[in-house]
């Protein structure tokens, strides 16, 4: 297979970014080494030769691979460089990985979001490696005066068998860096892969377990001060006035002032959501002093009235109305009930009304999911130093490319004068897509004219908004007298966003299908949360299908497989957004691996499956109920993400999805009373702990040579329903409303 070298890879040869090598972050450890001992023996090179945006090779053969995307636990800092190293034919033991800064000249889509890093990066990463390998071959060809076609590589070396010549990459790197870039490069066949498909340890593991400063919150710069913000305690409120007389003269405090993160007439783009624009900033020498001074600031808040916010949603302009008022859970629930009656049809196949009218059996259930806080373990933070018409920033961020534009607009500083270093993220889950804290940090730095690090307390973070929306879904199924599913209807919506994907399963598998959605405006801000929408709708849909299968007297896996068979052989409608074979594939795999159909004393089983973010997942969950306490004994995980890059790390991510799903389904909830969030910290917001995690998780992947897709999200949504369905088997009760622990305990 050959690959055209695209514009980006071409350009990156010509332009060596001034940021290359770490810039601002040199104080951070950069030796994300694959084998620290070997690297120590090899030592640092005297000179680096840059072959493209992703690759630098030292004269001693050491290879630096730039990891383009932010790292927040998906392990892309290992798997993305592995793909480059594969095509480069690098010796992985002589590779160090460096986090690339935000650099849109050399990289595309430096994003965490949508489980897309590997899928979207696949071609560019391979091409980068393959192109550099070709340059090294051409350099060897010139040096040895032999045809390039006779030169082969083995990890880290160039070889000309006929003459017995052999050189390590470092010996050819200086010449290679000067050669013209080939138009097309050969890519390896999958059968030739040496690194891809084999487990490689997280390149940052050693740094993590020894406590190295990897995270934004660890960032430090000479003269840096600490800043914190005070935001309104309740949604629906804004800052009226503040009195800092008791705080201003406290030890270590340098300044207290009001900031505005976005100007009122600012046209917000997709990730510019923020709950509170007007804030009080407290700046001082140390975190503890600033935390204490925060408590001494007297702030007066006031309710705001309904207003419009200008929005630009990927080119679609709108005025979003933000309603005034102090919202409570009961009112929100009532509003959802009203809105559900005025839903908008998204898809309609056949004649659902007629199907329901003539049905022998109709099953209808309502599912609800509460607001959820992301609760990243690393509280929101960012470093900013705005000076001399420039902004130097560093910290954890999911979508730096988009944030940069908002920052430029707010500071009045052109994008080329903004530098964003990407530190490791102590969790993201969507929360770090919304970078209002970066804007806040920069505005504070601009005001005090000094480098500052903004830190949110846990309470600032948990009560600051941008939650998983509150959702409701009503499902109806129509069965004929032979227990065939003849009609399917979903009506779902949320505050402030709906959860439906109308073209997903079981669309395409049912003759009469109807999907409708609605929304309820609210001043509670919402945003992306691990597997947005899917994280709720999969729970509802897969619980409902379990109930429908039971009503039809069918095994829940066989019932799904029958529907998938229909979707494959005789699909209904157009644009069905899944591959029935791959969907059935994960169900078949989990069925076999879990020995589905067998029974164990005291064990209750539930099954669930879902497709989102381009990968397929199915789970069988086994639990025991002892004295009303749930113990998940074992979860069987089956996934299809195409070709596997780094199997053990992929397993880790899928295990985490299971634990996160169980925890969120059991305990996750944030409610409002008169605009006040009912939870502020982990003493109130229950997070899953070790004893509640499954005793065992067994993860299997469908063997596949399809181009790889992601795993950050797909394994998460189905877990909720696997748990609900197992709980039904254990208790005889269906679990319709999250969090489930409430129903169990109540």
């Amino acid at each position: 297979m050959t690959q055209s070298v695209d514009k980006l890879n071409r350009r990156s040869f010509l332009k060596v970014s001034a940021l290359a090598g770490g810039g601002l972050l040199l104080s951070f450890n950069w030796l994300g080494g694959c084998n620290p001992k070997e690297l120590e023996e090899l030592g640092l090179p005297k000179e680096w030769f840059r072959l493209n945006g992703y690759i630098k090779i030292g004269e001693n053969g050491l290879v630096t691979l730039m990891s383009p995307n932010p790292e927040g636990g998906q392990n892309v800092k290992t798997s993305m460089p592995m793909i480059v190293a594969e095509e480069l034919d690098a010796d992985w033991t002589k590779v160090v990985v460096e986090q690339a800064p935000l650099d849109t000249d050399n990289f595309t889509r430096q994003f965490i979001g949508g489980s897309q890093a590997i899928r979207m990066g696949w071609k560019a990463l391979r091409t980068a490696g393959a192109t550099a390998r070709q340059l090294l071959i051409h350099a060897a060809s010139q040096t040895w005066n032999v045809p390039a076609s006779e030169i082969t590589t083995e990890p880290g070396f160039l070889i000309h068998s006929a003459s017995g010549k052999k050189a390590h990459f470092g010996e050819m790197a200086s010449l290679a860096a000067t050669l013209p870039v080939p138009e097309e490069v050969p890519l390896k066949e999958i059968s030739e892969f040496k690194l891809i498909g084999k487990s490689h340890q997280n390149v940052e593991a050693k740094n993590i377990i020894t406590g190295k400063p990897l995270f934004g919150i660890d960032y430090k710069k000479e003269g840096m001060q600490i800043a914190m913000i005070i935001h309104p305690p309740a949604h629906g409120m804004r800052l009226k006035s503040f009195d800092d007389s008791a705080a201003r003269n406290l030890s270590g405090i340098t300044d207290i002032f009001q900031i505005k993160s976005h100007q009122d007439d600012y046209e917000r783009t997709f990730f510019d959501t923020t709950s509170f624009t007007d804030l009080v900033a407290v700046v001082g020498k140390s975190t503890w002093e600033v935390m204490n001074a925060k408590k001494a600031v007297q702030v007066e808040w006031e309710e705001f009235s309904t207003y419009d916010e200008k929005r630009d949603w990927n080119g679609r302009k709108e005025n979003r109305t933000i309603p005034g008022g102090m919202e409570s859970w009961e009112d929100q629930l009532a509003k959802m009930g009203v809105a559900a009656k005025k839903a908008k049809t998204l898809r309609k196949d056949g004649n659902p009304e007629a199907a329901f009218a003539e049905a022998a059996k109709v099953i209808e259930q309502t599912y609800r999911g509460p607001f959820l806080a992301h609760n990243c373990m690393e509280p929101m933070n960012f470093f900013a130093h705005v000076h001399d018409g420039k902004a130097d920033c560093a910290g954890p961020l999911q979508k730096p490319e988009l944030t940069e534009q908002a920052l430029s607009s707010r500071l009045g500083i052109p994008i080329e004068n903004i530098q964003i270093e990407m530190t490791r993220l102590g969790g993201g889950y969507g929360r770090r897509s919304y970078a209002h804290w970066l804007i806040e940090a920069a505005v504070i730095s601009q005001k005090v004219n000094a480098p500052i690090k903004l830190i949110y307390s846990r309470e600032d973070d948990m009560t600051g908004g941008i939650y998983r929306p509150m959702y409701q879904a009503i499902y109806r199924a129509a069965l004929d007298k032979y227990n065939n599913l003849i009609g399917f209807h979903v009506n779902a919506g949320g505050l402030v966003e709906p959860p439906i994907y109308p073209d997903r399963f079981p669309a395409g598998a049912v003759e009469n299908y109807w999907a409708e959605e609605w929304t309820v405006p609210s001043n509670i801000t919402v945003g992306s949360f691990r597997a947005p929408r899917s994280n709720f709708i999969a729970a509802a849909e897969q619980s409902f299908l379990d109930e429908v299968a039971e009503a039809a007297g069918k095994d829940p896996i066989d019932f799904r497989l029958e529907l998938l068979q229909k979707a494959k052989e005789n699909p209904v409608g157009e644009n069905n957004d899944y591959d029935p074979d791959r969907y059935a594939g994960v169900l078949e795999l989990v069925k076999a691996k879990s020995n589905w159909g067998s029974t164990q004393a005291g064990i209750s089983r539930g099954v669930s499956a879902y497709f989102c973010h381009n990968s397929y997942a199915a789970q069988v969950l086994d639990l025991k109920l002892e004295n009303g306490q749930v113990q998940v004994e074992k979860v069987y995980n089956a996934l299809d993400c195409g070709l596997l890059i780094n199997p053990d790390s992929a397993k880790n991510l899928c295990e985490g999805s299971v634990v996160d799903g169980i925890g969120t389904a059991m305990f996750g909830e944030l409610k409002f009373n008169q605009g006040l969030p009912d939870k502020r910290n982990f003493d109130q917001y229950r997070m899953i702990r070790m004893k509640e995690a499954p005793k065992e998780i067994e993860t299997h992947f469908v063997e596949s040579q399809v181009d790889p897709t992601g795993l950050g999200e797909p394994g998460y949504p189905p877990v909720f329903a696997a748990l609900a369905n197992a709980l039904y088997q254990a208790t005889g009760k269906r679990f319709y409303d999250q969090p489930f622990a409430k129903q169990l305990e109540g």
């Binding site: 927040g72 636990g73 998906q74 392990n75 487990s199 997280n202 593991a205 050693k206 993590i208 377990i209 020894t210 406590g211 190295k212 400063p213 990897l214 995270f215 919150i217 660890d218 430090k220 600490i226 030890s251 140390s286 975190t287 503890w288 002093e289 935390m291 204490n292 609760n375 990243c376 373990m377 690393e378 509280p379 490791r424 993220l425 102590g426 969790g427 993201g428 830190i455 846990r458 880790n652 991510l653 295990e655 985490g656 999805s657 299971v658 634990v659 996160d660 925890g663 910290n681 982990f682 003493d683 997070m687 899953i688 702990r689 070790m690 004893k691 995690a693 499954p694 065992e696 998780i697």
Partner: protein, 152 residues
């Protein structure tokens, strides 16, 4: 402000801070030992776990004035080469995802194994109950603790 002489990772350190300052912030802001993490500030998440005379302690609730002559060990001082059996087991099981909580997890696990070299599953669950892992690496953490236990 007051001067405190502290024994941290086997060396003596002097800081001049407000006596109410939690050790977490003394370590992070004043001594540049940032391996100990801030997670909640109310001893509910365990990210800030250190050893005080060998016992696991949440440093966010430990004022510097209460430390006196006690020996403090942080993740940076758990071993010289990062090769404490618990750290080695963490590498063997490639435990971390985001990694933010792992220093606290390792400190809790090391303290557990120091006092109970062969913990049962329940012992492990109890000792690690104060440490949240948001990424959900609990099954690997438990497996790593068992591996470390065999090597002690």
């Amino acid at each position: 402000m007051a001067i405190f002489n502290l024994n941290i990772n086997g060396t003596s350190k002097q800081v001049d801070v407000d006596p109410t300052t939690p050790m977490l912030w003394v370590l992070r802001d004043h001594l540049d030992l940032v391996g100990t993490k801030f997670g909640c500030g109310i001893a509910q998440c365990g990210a800030c776990t250190i050893h005080l005379d060998g016992n696991a302690m949440r440093s966010c609730q430990l004022p510097v004035s209460a430390v006196a002559d006690s020996k403090i060990t942080t993740i940076e001082g758990l071993s010289e080469q990062g090769d404490h059996p618990v750290q080695q087991a963490w590498l063997e099981h490639d435990v971390p995802q985001c990694g933010y909580c792992q220093a606290g997890q390792i400190m809790s696990a090391a303290a557990l194994l120091a006092s109970n070299p062969n913990p049962s599953d329940t012992d492990i669950d109890n000792a690690m109950n104060g440490n949240i892992c948001r990424c959900g690496t609990y099954t690997r953490i438990k497996a790593a603790i068992k591996t470390a236990s065999q090597k002690l």
